[in-house]
Assembly symmetry: C2
Homo-oligomer: 142 residues x 2
DNA sequence: TGTTAATCTAGAATCATTCTAAACTAGTAC
DNA sequence: GTACTAGTTTAGAATGATTCTAGATTAACA
């Protein structure tokens, strides 16, 4: 894992996030956070839960993922039209996106330097996302 | 406009891209390329066409946008789950994304420096996208 | 143990996008 | 010009991810 999560287990994690620790939230938190950094879609997580005999509906998976994002336990990553990834690594970092497989890979923020950031004309910078799109060796680059 | 398009008009543009210059492709090309750099969704472009009394179906707008992307007349930008933007600026550049309004703004590539790019474990880098997410002045940053 | 508000769920609904099969048209040959 | 053909366009259905709805369940706490 790339960042220290100051919680011994899923229960404390939920408590700290002020989310009532229900069966399904506990189970999903375990699936998400007890395996190192991951990038999952809602459907993938639902499949995993079902495979692990955890009865949970897809709607609840969506609700829970969004609550976790709201509580800053997860980050939503958008690289592909029509499908969201949820990233358990909430530290400042960036991504490779492999177009062929649809997979994401973390890049620690100290491996890339983004300097000279211009200020937006109004509002405040929330986040800087760098996505390096990777395709098969052949065909022309952008 | 930030890049020179070596075509006097929509007709030459389509010819060069080897796309048959049909009524609707010509009309859409005009809407897209005769107003400087733009970021449009399929639905927005369709609305514009309808407003300009150009009879074109939404399906054709989608087809055309994707053909233009294939011909490198446009770039698809993904910043928001469930909605694609098409960018008429095909020069290397980056974006501000204003979360409140859903609008994009170009950042010329020489205004940001991304150095130290790591090599992907396999495949070739297609593109490097930097998105600076901007929110209202208040609430916490990432 | 009872009450209550929060949560979960199945299934319907929505939204962007893609597909399908039939109608149309640009380009070429005559 | 007229006819032919391949490429396009289209309405409408289909799809896939996500959200909504309203009723059933459950955690929390007296």
């Amino acid at each position: 894992m790339s960042n220290h999560r100051p919680f011994a287990n899923a229960l404390e994690l939920l408590r700290a996030a002020k989310l009532r620790p229900t069966r399904q939230r506990l189970a999903l938190a375990k699936l998400l956070f007890e395996k190192g950094d991951r990038h999952v879609t809602a459907e993938q997580l639902h499949d995993e839960a079902v495979a692990a005999s955890i009865p949970v509906s897809l709607a609840t998976v969506y609700n829970t993922l969004h609550q976790f994002v709201g509580a800053r336990l997860l980050r939503e990553v958008v690289v592909n039209p029509g499908r969201s990834y949820f990233d358990t690594n909430i530290a400042d970092h960036h991504h490779f996106f492999f177009e062929e497989t649809g997979k994401l890979m973390d890049i620690a923020s100290d491996r890339i330097e983004v300097t000279n950031l211009p200020q937006p004309p109004h509002g405040a910078i929330r986040r800087v996302d760098v996505v390096i799109r990777v395709g098969p060796k052949g065909s022309g680059a952008a």
